[in-house]
Amino acid sequence: MSLTLVDKLWSMHEVHRLSERRSLLYIDRIFLHERTGSVALRELEAKQRKVRLPSHAFCTMDHIVDTTPGRSDRTLMPSGQDFIVATRSAAQEASIRLFDIDDPDQGIVHVLSPELGIALPGSTLICPDSHTCTLGGVGALAWGVGSTETEHALATSTLRVERPQNYRVSLDGELPVGVTAKDLILYVIRELSASGGQGYAIEFAGSAVESLSVEGRLTLCNMATELSAFTGIIAPDQKVFDYFRDRDFAPSGPTWELAQAHWQDLKSDPDAVFDREMALDVSQIGPQISWGTSPQHTIDASGVIPTPADAPSGLQHSSWAKAQAYMQIRPGTRLEDYPIDAAFLGSCTNSRLSDLRLAADYLRHSGARVAPSVKALCVPGSGRVKRAAEAEGIDEVFREAGFEWREPGCSLCFFAGGERFAEGARVISTTNRNFEGRQGLGVRTHLASPLSVVASACAGYLTSVGSQA
C-alpha cells in the first residue's frame, strides 16, 4: 500500500490502536519552556509521578526570561521570576537537561531543537507550545500540546492522539529575488485562510520548498499552526541529513550511518493518496506584509488594503472591519502610507543565522540607518546563533545601523516577560502572530520577513525591499 510521509511516521510510532482514529503514539522527545512546561512538571510532582525517561526530555528558558544585556532571573513582570525559579527547581528535581539563563546554549525552544540535534528527521517531538510544528522543517513529526498532555507524555513516553488527515500543499516555481520563506508561508496562509489546515497534517512539497535552505524550511513549517493545522512537515533530504552531522544529540559514529539509511525512506510514496491537495505557483509572488489581526489578513507589500465589503463571508465582513478599526488602517490606502514606531527582528519564526545575515547584508549594502522615530531591535534565537553572528560582525552592523542587539529569547514576540511596545505603537515584526494586544496593549503588529523589517525600520514606514525600488 502507498503511504504518505505522515502515515509512515504514524505507523513507526504507533504503540497501540485505541479506536478507529486514535492511537497511543510513542513520543521520542519532549521539550519544555518556563511558561507552560513549569506547570506540567509541577503537576507531575504534586501527583508524585516521575518523568519516565528524563534523557528524552529537555527544558529551556525563553518565554519569560529578560533579553536585555546583563539580565538575571528578574523580569519586568513582577511574578516572572517565580516561573523561572520554579522551572529551574522542577527541571533539576526531574533530572532534565535544562538550558538555563547562563547556559551558553540557551535560546528559543524551536531554535535549539534542530540546532542541538534534539529534533531529528522521523522523530516525534512534542512541546507545550503551538509553534512546535517548526520542526517539521527537518522532517520531524512535531506538534504543540497543552500542559496536561505534556504531563502525560512525560509520565508515559506516549500520547493518545487523533490521527490527522493528509494534506499536500505543493509550492512550485523559483521564488523571485528578495522573496523569502516567510513571504512564502504568509502567502500560503492568505490563500488557505487561518482555519484552512484544520484537521490536517500538511506536507509542504514542490520545487520552491525543495530549494529552501534547512532554516527556510523551519520558517515555513513554523506557521503551519497559523493555518490551524495539526502540524506541517517537509520530507527530509540530503541537505537536512548533512545539517545534522556532528550536532550534539544527533546520532554519531556507526549509528550515524544507520540513521542516514533509515532517513532515506522518509518521504511519501509516489502514488500516495492525500485527503486533500493544493498546488500554488509561487514564481510571481512578491514580499508579503499583514494588515490586520489574523495572519490571513495579508497582502502584497505593494498592495492596497481591502474593503470589508469584499470579504468572502458574512462573519468576515465584520471581522475585517473590526481588524481595520483596531489597526487604524483604511481600505484603499497602501501599506507605505503608514509610518511605524518600531521594528522587531527575532522569534522562533525568524531568528536564525540566515535571517540575521539577510538583514545585515541589506544594512551593509544599502548603508541605511534606522529612521530616528523608530525603535528597532534584533534578538538572536539562541546563544549559538548570537555567537556565530558576532563572529561575523553582524552585531556591529546592527548596532551601527541603530538596532539594539539583545540576549536570546522570545522577547517582544509577545509580552510574557512584561516587556511591551508603547500603547498603540505600529510595529513591523518577523514574528508569527498579529493578534490584538499580542505585543502590548493596543499594539498594531504587521508580520513580515526579516528583509521587509530592516527595510521598513530604515524607511520609517511599512515597506519591502522590492517595493522601494
Binding site: 504503540v15 497501540h16 485505541l18 479506536s19 482514529r21 497511543l24 510513542y26 511558561r35 507552560t36 513549569s38 506547570v39 509541577r42 528524563p54 534523557s55 528524552h56 513582570m77 511574578s79 517565580d82 516561573f83 531529528l120 522521523g122 522523530s123 507550545d129 503551538s130 500540546v145 497543552g146 500542559s147 496536561t148 504531563e151 502525560h152 509520565a155 508515559t156 513516553s157 506516549t158 493518545r160 487523533e162 490527522p164 487561518a194 482555519s195 484544520q198 497559523e226 490551524s228 544527533a250 549509528t255 550515524w256 540513521a259 533509515h262 489574523s294 490571513q296 462573519l315 468576515q316 471581522s319 509577545f414 509580552f415 510574557a416 512584561g418 502572530r433 493578534f435 494586544g437 499580542r438
Partner: protein, 207 residues
C-alpha cells in the same frame, strides 16, 4: 478531571471566527505558576476598556446583565486558535463556562478542553443559528440544555444532535485520569521500545 454529563445554562454568543487564545487569556494575565487566578483575565482585551483599571466595556457580552451568569459560550469557526496555553480552558472554566459550542475548534484547544472536562461541541453554522434564533426573536435569554450521554442540545422544543469521538465521550463521562489509563498499557510501551531500539538506536539516549 471533572466529570461531565449534562448541563443547563445561559448561552452567550460571541459570533466571531478565529477567536484566539491571546484574546481568551492574554499572556500578561497569566501571572502565577498555577491553573487558578485566571477568571478575571478571561477575554480581558474585549471585556475591559482599560485592562489595567478593569473598567468594563459595556458593549461586550460578558458585561451585559443577561449574560453575567452565562455558562455556555457560542462562537464561530476555529475557536481557540493560536497559542497552546491551556490557561484558556482553565480561565473559561474558572469563570463558570461548562460548554463551548463553535463551528470548529483549533485542535490544541479542543484537546485541552477534553482533558479538563470542558465540553467543546463542533456544530454546523445552520444548527447554531437555529439554536440562537429563539433569542434573537424574543430578546429573551437563551437557556440551552446539553446532554452528553444522548449527544443533544435543546433550546425549548428544538433538539439538535452533536457528534463526539466515542473515546473522548467516555473520558468526559467518567472523568478518567488519562495517565492511569495509559499506564495500564505499560507492557505494550516497553515491548515497543525493545523492538524500536533495534531499528532506531539513536533515539534512545542514556538514562
Amino acid at each position: 478531571m471533572k466529570v461531565f454529563n449534562e448541563h443547563v445554562g445561559v448561552a452567550m454568543p460571541l459570533p466571531e471566527d478565529n477567536i484566539n487564545t491571546d484574546v481568551i487569556i492574554p499572556s500578561r494575565e497569566m501571572r502565577t505558576v498555577s491553573k487558578s487566578g485566571l477568571a478575571d483575565g478571561l477575554f480581558a482585551p474585549w471585556r475591559y476598556l482599560d485592562p489595567d483599571s478593569r473598567e468594563e466595556n459595556p458593549s461586550f457580552a460578558m458585561n451585559k446583565a443577561a449574560y453575567r451568569d452565562a455558562s455556555i459560550l457560542i462562537a464561530g469557526k476555529n475557536f481557540g486558535c493560536g497559542s497552546s496555553r491551556e490557561h484558556a480552558v482553565w480561565a473559561l472554566m474558572e469563570a463558570g463556562f461548562k460548554v463551548v459550542i463553535a463551528e470548529s475548534f483549533a485542535t490544541i484547544f479542543y484537546n485541552n478542553a477534553l482533558r479538563n472536562g470542558l465540553l467543546a461541541i463542533a456544530l454546523d453554522r445552520r444548527l447554531i443559528d437555529a439554536l440562537a434564533a429563539p433569542v434573537r426573536d424574543s430578546g429573551a435569554v437563551d437557556v440551552l440544555s446539553v446532554n452528553l450521554t444522548d449527544q443533544t442540545i435543546s433550546a425549548g422544543a428544538m433538539v439538535v444532535r452533536f457528534e463526539i469521538d466515542p473515546d473522548a465521550k467516555e473520558m468526559l463521562l467518567e472523568g478518567m485520569d488519562e495517565i492511569s489509563l495509559t499506564q495500564r498499557n505499560a507492557l505494550l510501551i516497553e515491548a515497543f521500545e525493545r523492538s524500536d531500539r533495534e531499528n532506531r538506536p539513536w533515539i534512545y539516549l542514556n538514562d
